[in-house]
């Protein structure tokens, strides 16, 4: 039970962190894709990886039994 709660806390933190990275990245891409292509080229692949990570994290979170 305690293990589940700890997992949930950690995953919540990880999902929030991933969402934060994604939202900032998308906002940046939205504002800079024309004016700063070098930066956007670095960010886009990282963003794609993050989306995949988010999908895994959410699936993981759903597996945790809820009380």
């Amino acid at each position: 039970m305690k293990q589940n709660s700890e997992n949930e806390t950690n995953l919540t933190h990880d999902i929030n962190a991933t969402l934060s990275a994604l939202l900032s990245a998308l906002e940046l891409i939205n504002g800079e894709w024309k004016s700063n292509p070098e930066l956007v080229d670095r960010i886009v692949p990282l963003t794609i990886n993050k989306v995949e990570l988010l999908s895994l994290q959410i699936a993981e979170y759903r597996k945790i039994p809820k009380p």
């Binding site: 806390t9 919540t12 933190h13 990880d14 999902i15 929030n16 962190a17 969402l19 934060s20 990275a21 994604l22 939202l23 900032s24 990245a25 906002e27 940046l28 800079e32 700063n36 930066l39 670095r42 960010i43 990282l46 963003t47 993050k50």
Partner: protein
């Protein structure tokens, strides 16, 4: 001039670090640390002004240790974390972080945290107190609201009589937000009802007759800066709902366009009218009022700032190169006056006194100017003439003279004139038609003489 900051960004996630770094670079030099070792090293070696700290790096909650180090170096610290546990947030604050921003955070919250740091450094209260030349306790309390507004994201509403310094405060707010950012100022009373939406939201080519090319609206031009809407009470009710939506959603549709435009602006509005009574009269939307009233500053009229008045007079006297001396009685006349036009009127009176031939100004010089200004009558009542031509014709002449004089004073701005004289469209055009049709007769009569 804005000082460049040394910013330490401690974040183990590459994507987060890259995006945040690119946002922070406009504030100064950004030093990156992807783990605690690099962070400790940079804190030792560099003179850091402020730090953004992710709590979880290569080790869970190692960020709390970094906070302690930053605290010992007196560095202003901002935590960025996805942790939702209150005990951790409390710990971070107890160690000494200034702000705890939850992930995912908005760019506005980052900007707000930086402004908070800048304010702490620059102490805006003292700056504005000096600029407004005030030691009035109530006014100083109002100024504190400005400080809160700067850190928050809600709009700022400045109320007060004409000439009390509302525009000055709005411009000061802009300086605090960032001098290099746009400051877009619109006096809503100076734009005709039919053009106001196009001014605010812009328009597409061909959106209406005369729209020969597309034009950006002021909301769009104010992106990242301050949009100051003066005389907001005069904004037509038909445009109020669109403005409300734009404030809430930070996006809007230019006239004739199907593509939304986004704009992130800080909104400052001002009015000398009582918006609550306008709401009761159905002239102002209550929902817009509640949206505008995020932070409210009321500027006191000059007649209620007795203790400041002498200092303000002396300030204006010293500002002009041609120095004059006011006798004690002259000063006392100025202090006794009730200043209906507030600081703007005082500035004008001092300027008139300074253009006087005399170098030493006594009370008669002062009363002469104040009396002339107070006596702003179009013409004296001439009972004999009224009896001769009849009251209706006399009143028509008064109407015409008042309208022409106000139009002249307002540089032919029709909407402002209608608002100043509280005239409806119909009344305005009725009087104008009278003026136009009778002017010929008047000339003929004059010629006949």
């Amino acid at each position: 001039m804005e000082t460049k900051l040394n910013i330490l960004l401690i974040e183990d996630d590459l994507l987060s670090r890259l995006t945040l770094k690119s946002r922070l670079e406009k504030y100064g030099e950004v030093f990156e640390a992807e783990n605690s070792l690099i962070a400790f090293d940079l804190i030792e070696r560099k003179k850091i002004d402020l730090a953004f700290v992710d709590l979880d790096l290569e080790e869970k909650l190692i960020g709390l240790e970094i906070l302690k180090k930053l605290r010992s170096k007196n560095v202003h610290s901002i935590v960025l974390s996805g942790r939702e546990d209150n005990s951790i947030i409390e710990k971070a604050y107890l160690i000494g972080c200034s702000d705890f921003l939850s992930k995912p955070f908005s760019i506005e919250s980052i900007q707000g945290a930086i402004l908070k740091y800048k304010n702490k450094k620059e102490n805006i209260l003292i700056q504005l107190q000096d600029a407004l030349l005030t030691s009035d306790e109530n006014l100083l309390d109002e100024i504190k609201t400005l400080k809160m507004a700067l850190q928050g994201h809600q709009p700022l509403l400045i109320t007060g009589e004409s000439g009390t310094g509302k525009t000055f405060v709005a411009k000061f707010f802009h300086e605090l937000v960032g001098q290099k950012k746009p400051f877009v100022h619109l006096n809503c009373s100076e734009v005709s009802e039919s053009l106001i939406e196009s001014e605010l939201f812009g328009h597409e080519k061909g959106a209406f007759t005369g729209a020969l090319k597309s034009k950006k609206g002021l909301l769009e031009l104010a992106h990242d800066g301050v949009l100051f809407l003066d005389e907001i009470a005069t904004l037509p009710i038909s445009s109020q709902s669109k403005l409300l939506k734009a404030i809430e959603e930070k996006s809007f549709y230019p006239v004739g366009s199907e593509k939304p435009v986004s704009s992130n602006f800080r909104l400052v509005t001002a009015t000398c009218e009582n918006l609550r009574s306008k709401i009761l009269n159905g002239e102002f939307r209550e929902d817009l009022y509640f949206r505008l009233e995020g932070y409210n500053i009321h500027m006191k009229p000059l007649r209620q700032r007795g203790q400041d008045l002498k200092g303000i007079i002396e300030f204006f006297l010293k500002r002009n190169k041609r120095r004059i001396i006011l006798t004690e009685k002259a000063m006392s006349e100025l202090i006794k006056y009730n200043w209906p036009g507030n600081i703007r009127e005082l500035e004008k009176v001092i300027s008139l006194l300074q253009s006087n031939d005399k170098g030493v100004i006594d009370e008669t010089d002062v009363t002469l100017i104040l009396h002339k200004k107070g006596k702003n009558k179009v013409e004296e009542i001439d009972l004999e003439e009224i009896k001769l031509i009849g009251l209706p014709v006399y009143l028509e002449r008064i109407e015409a003279a008042v309208l022409q004089k106000t139009l002249f004073e307002n540089n032919d701005k029709v909407r402002k004139t209608m608002i100043d004289l509280k005239l409806s469209n119909n009344s305005f055009y009725r009087i104008m038609t009278n003026i136009n049709s009778k002017s010929v007769n008047i000339v003929r009569n004059d010629e006949a003489k």
